[in-house]
Symmetry: C2
Subunit: 195 residues, 2 copies
């Protein structure tokens, strides 16, 4: 697939496993989840995202998931279902956010606008989806951060340029999985509209 | 949470494990996946869906997943994270689609409009999201069918009243997980709009 074919959006995703918070709001590192990588990379590939950076500082986790990627990209999985490899080829495992920032800045030759996602509006700069969608279409570079566990640590949210609005349903329950949240955010920012 | 609070939409979901197709287009029964139930019930709860019917004819699968539900609804899981039980309380395990149709028709005192989801436009009646969204808001009952594995068998798609448009990105890759697809469909039909 050519870059032309997948669209011109210069947008990358980050799935953060450290620092995130647990259900008591304490800062932790979470374990990488197999299905997060599959689901979010498949959605990323569908919507024309450049890369999915997976941040974990733990070398055992990095090795385990590099083996998983190799299975689908080069091993038996590549023969069984090539579509998985197409999506997982977007995944890059990184030690920390600084490494991600360095890589995307190198790739786009400029620092992207960094937006965090969270279930509450905890940031003075909330960027409406329509506005970000328009800026992506105009060629602006974006890096969108997703937290695992109970969400991104406050220091990560504050280090970005703003947040995307929380995804709200009609009631007070807002406990989407990060897989569901990522799919909805990508549809809002990059979907071809409601046919 | 009162019915008022979660909205007035009379919409239910079905996650079908038989009959679905495998990657060769052959009719099969698939295994129920733990994370499907968690992710889709959490999205359903967030967007005010009535019930998530899980269709599998296999009694061992039914027993296994009833144990899983009991864990989160009544067992240790209910103490560990009550939010999971809130979502999983929407799940009802059924033998087949006929049982689902009977239960929802009894619940709403009318047969709902049945729409299938699929990755290709294989049906003469494609119902645009905006139209379905408006009809839900007006009080019409809907039952939305999602297929596991490589998607719903053709006979299921044809038995409904129509299909929702496939979710398209900017390229030719359209291999979203059923978890991602369900999240996007719910946001398009029931989301409170782009804040």
């Amino acid at each position: 697939m050519t870059e032309q074919e997948v669209g011109k959006g210069r947008i990358d995703l980050v799935l953060v496993h450290y620092p995130v918070i647990n259900k008591n709001g304490e800062k932790i590192g979470s374990a990488v989840t197999n299905l997060d990588l599959h689901d979010i990379s498949r959605a990323a590939k569908t919507f024309g995202v450049g890369s999915l950076y997976v941040v974990t500082p733990y070398s055992d986790q990095q090795e385990l998931f590099q083996e998983l990627l190799d299975h689908w990209l080069k091993g038996h999985g590549a023969k069984y279902n090539a579509k998985r490899g197409e999506a997982l080829s977007l995944v890059h495992i990184c030690d920390d956010l600084d490494q991600v920032f360095a890589e995307v800045t190198e790739k786009w030759k400029q620092r992207p606008t960094v937006l965090a996602t969270c279930a509450q509006e905890k940031h003075p700069a909330v960027w409406p989806y329509q506005m970000v969608r328009r800026k992506i279409a105009e060629g602006e570079c974006f890096l969108i951060l997703f937290g695992t566990a109970w969400g991104l640590a406050q220091e990560v949210i504050e280090a970005g340029d703003g947040i995307l609005p929380p995804i709200a349903g009609s009631g007070s329950y807002n406990h989407l999985s990060v897989r569901s949240a990522a799919a909805i955010v990508l549809d809002r920012l990059l979907g071809t509209g409601e046919a």
